[in-house]
């Protein structure tokens, strides 16, 4: 029996996914978690064989959680952003499945991963090869993320404890590197690539 822990912030999706997996005779959902910051404790308590992790959760980011777990992890997310896949691989996850997959694919991925394999969504793997790594430095990312919400330069500078001129330089660099024509577009491009 493969013991699975489910982490997803939407209750209905979590229950539904559990219902779906209950049809698999060799898979058992032993726990459900709705916040990223509760996953580590739940894993310690329930000792699952595989953790299904959503990325966007309250409390803590699924990708950073994955880096702290030493059980096998499958990222199960809505958004097939190339950057997500890359970061997930860096975090040492064993599988990456998008929520548009078939139920059989998910079950197969769980079995494969449990047996020591690695499973990655095909289309995403292809997209990841073409998109390449994030060209932004850590500070540029931070500045772009802070600016994405719609704040002004002064806001970003205040939040990052930087001089406004520096923020402008970072954003300018981000705009150039993403090939965008202004902050908003740069933020959108970085967002869809999973660079933020």
């Amino acid at each position: 029996m493969i013991r699975v822990l489910l982490a997803d912030d939407q209750h209905l999706v979590r229950q539904a996914m559990a219902a779906l997996l209950s049809f698999e005779p060799d898979i058992e959902v032993v726990a459900e978690v709705e916040r990223g910051d509760l996953v580590v404790a739940a894993v310690a308590e329930h000792r699952p064989d595989v953790v299904l992790l959503d990325i966007e959760m309250p409390g803590r980011d699924g990708l950073s959680v994955a880096a702290d777990l030493d059980v096998k992890v499958i990222i199960l997310t809505t958004f097939g952003r190339p950057g997500y896949l890359r970061r997930a691989m860096d975090a040492g996850v064993s599988g990456f499945v998008v929520k548009d997959a078939r139920a059989e694919e998910l079950a197969a991925a769980i079995r494969d991963v449990c047996a020591g394999g690695r499973v990655v969504d095909r289309r995403l793997a292809a997209a990841s090869r073409t998109t390449g790594a994030c060209p932004l430095t850590a500070r540029e990312r931070a500045a772009l993320r802070a600016a994405a919400g719609g704040g002004t330069i002064a806001d970003v500078a205040a939040r990052l404890f930087l001089s406004p001129g520096t923020v402008r330089n970072y954003l300018s660099a981000a705009i150039r590197k993403t090939g965008a024509r202004n902050r908003a577009e740069a933020a959108r491009i970085a967002e869809t690539n999973g660079w933020l």
Copy 2:
């Protein structure tokens, strides 16, 4: 037996939701659709009692689909945006459930709606009362939506066949009405309220 049609763009979520509803003895999922523009034909073919509609789908928006259906509709969406609820009500839907609800709530909503009732998520109804209606005119909305992607004023003007000055005026009005300090923030505010 209550006949249900499921419309959601994510295959796994759709299958999982069907699995969840299969545990309810009086509910039967008779069809699944993955695109908004296929819902009307599927309803004509399968004659469900209730349609579960996601909002954000490829092909066609769930809210506009709802307006064309004369069966009972429950909107089932991730995003509890007040504006979505308002537009859903205008479209004549019978229920509005967020994906963070419990499975029992969803089943209860299906039964209530099938019996002629109306079901609306409590927290969302409260939020909807405080937020109020969308203050933007149709053109302002269009301009803001076109600008949200990150394009420049000239881009928006070209896409809407308007003069750049007019676009600036619309965006300025949108910024004023949303209480934002620039386009990006206005777009974000309108987005979270479901006004776009």
